[in-house]
């Protein structure tokens, strides 16, 4: 067992974990932050995407001990403390970027990482960046629209396929 100290959504958190404890497991079971979803547990689906030191990673494919001393941001830290959604979350609501919502935490965290690297991505760039995030409801179309809108771009140009 190892002690870990991880700054999660700006708050320093401590825990005692096994070597094999995944970051996703520590967040969900250790800290009760169940917004980080585990969809496939095989690194494919991206529902578990969080940011580690600002970079998108699949938290089901990283050990909690590897995050020791680092900063982790999850979906719970995206809205303001009073519950006001951030621009990406609001755009997902406005553009119906979710149906069942299971993939949404990962989609929002990937979108946030993309917009940090590239503040005004084109449609193709958004689709490419979301290659590691699977949605089985919306067909991605409204997710792409939401991210365009969150980056202040016109979404009317995208025609339904």
């Amino acid at each position: 067992m190892s002690e870990v100290r991880i700054v999660v959504n700006g708050v320093e958190r401590f825990g005692v974990v096994e070597g094999r404890t995944l970051l996703s497991g520590f967040l969900r079971d250790g800290l009760g932050l169940t917004g980080t979803h585990v969809g496939c547990d095989t690194s494919q689906c991206g529902a578990c995407v969080v940011h580690v030191d600002g970079q998108a990673v699949k938290s089901c494919t990283m050990f909690a001990v590897e995050a020791d001393g680092r900063s982790v941001d999850t979906i719970e830290g995206q809205a303001a403390p009073d519950g006001t959604l951030n621009a990406i979350q609001q755009a997902f609501q406005d553009h119906h970027g979710l149906q069942c919502g299971f993939c949404t935490p990962g989609m929002v965290m990937s979108a946030a990482a993309l917009l940090k690297e590239n503040p005004t991505p084109g449609e193709a760039e958004i689709r490419e960046y979301l290659e590691g995030n699977l949605c089985r409801c919306t067909g991605y179309h409204n997710i792409v629209k939401a991210i365009l809108a969150a980056s202040g771009q016109d979404v009317a140009a995208i025609a339904a396929e």
Binding site: R20, Q44, Q55, V65, Y129, E131, G132
Partner: protein
């Protein structure tokens, strides 16, 4: 997963010492190893994480050679090698997906030598040197078959040195679910000659297509491959493609690489 401890050494020397423990395994970015552990296909007593070793990270370009630390993630290579070796940076920027590229490392990829991984083709086509914790190995000697390399037990890939070709292109026919190469061809054109390395296709892992190299050394254009074919016998067959399909793709992707290089 079975239970194990995780070590986090801060130097190559400490990592080599930690790997002396029986059943210890090196952990790079974990993008292959962690899924493997989840399936209980490996049962190490201890994982030695290489992520905290500063001397194994970074990209530098000096005198026509790009050197990449073994612990450098794909995303960093995509960004920092773009000026010095664009084809290599493009390859790195198309491995897996963005979150995987933030974790997976070049050293991990080369140590694993997955028969469908992208990096082995770049290392072999470039005539790279694999620098380890104890020696330097030429790429031509390093790759020894599917998931097999010249690495000894406990030996760590600390850096990879790529001679930069005059022109190069990596053409990947992607398996869309895994985003590995169904077939990938890396073509590198040096003053001394052309090198063509193929990944994803052979049951023996990455290989050089020497007949194509000879033909291209005589005449560098796609038509030079006319009449050349890869024998399907040793090709990989799975639900995504037959042996014949992969053999055909090798020619197609090589021609695309030739046209891309121009």
């Amino acid at each position: 997963m079975y239970s194990f401890e995780v070590d986090k050494p801060g130097s190559v020397e400490a990592a080599v010492a930690a790997l002396q423990i029986e059943e210890a395994m090196a952990l790079g970015g974990g993008q292959t190893l962690i899924p493997t552990l989840k399936q209980r296909l490996a049962s190490p007593s201890r994982l030695v994480s290489l992520a905290g070793i500063a001397e194994m990270k970074g990209v530098s370009a000096v005198d026509g050679v790009v050197t990449i630390g073994g612990g450098t993630p794909h995303a960093t290579v995509a960004r920092e090698a773009a000026g010095a070796y664009p084809a290599l940076a493009a390859l790195a920027g198309n491995i897996g997906d963005p979150a995987v590229r933030n974790r997976g490392t070049i050293g991990g990829s080369l140590a694993n030598n997955d028969p469908a991984a992208c990096y082995p083709s770049a290392a072999l086509a470039s005539g790279a040197t694999i620098v380890t914790s104890s020696r330097e190995i030429a790429a031509d000697d390093y790759f020894q078959g599917m998931f097999t390399t010249a690495l000894h037990e406990g030996e760590i890939v600390t850096a990879v040195r790529f001679p930069v070709p005059q022109a190069a292109s990596y053409q990947k026919f992607e398996q869309p679910a895994s985003r590995f190469a169904l077939v990938g061809v890396f073509l590198a054109r040096f003053a001394e000659g052309v090198r063509v390395a193929v990944t994803g296709a052979s049951e023996d892992g990455v290989f050089r297509w020497s007949e194509a190299e000879e033909a291209l050394n005589k005449e560098f254009r796609a038509d030079a491959l006319t009449g050349l074919a890869i024998a399907p016998e040793n090709m990989i067959a799975d639900l995504h493609g037959t042996k014949e399909y992969r053999a055909h793709l090798v020619s197609v992707m090589t021609k695309r690489a030739i046209r891309a290089v121009g």
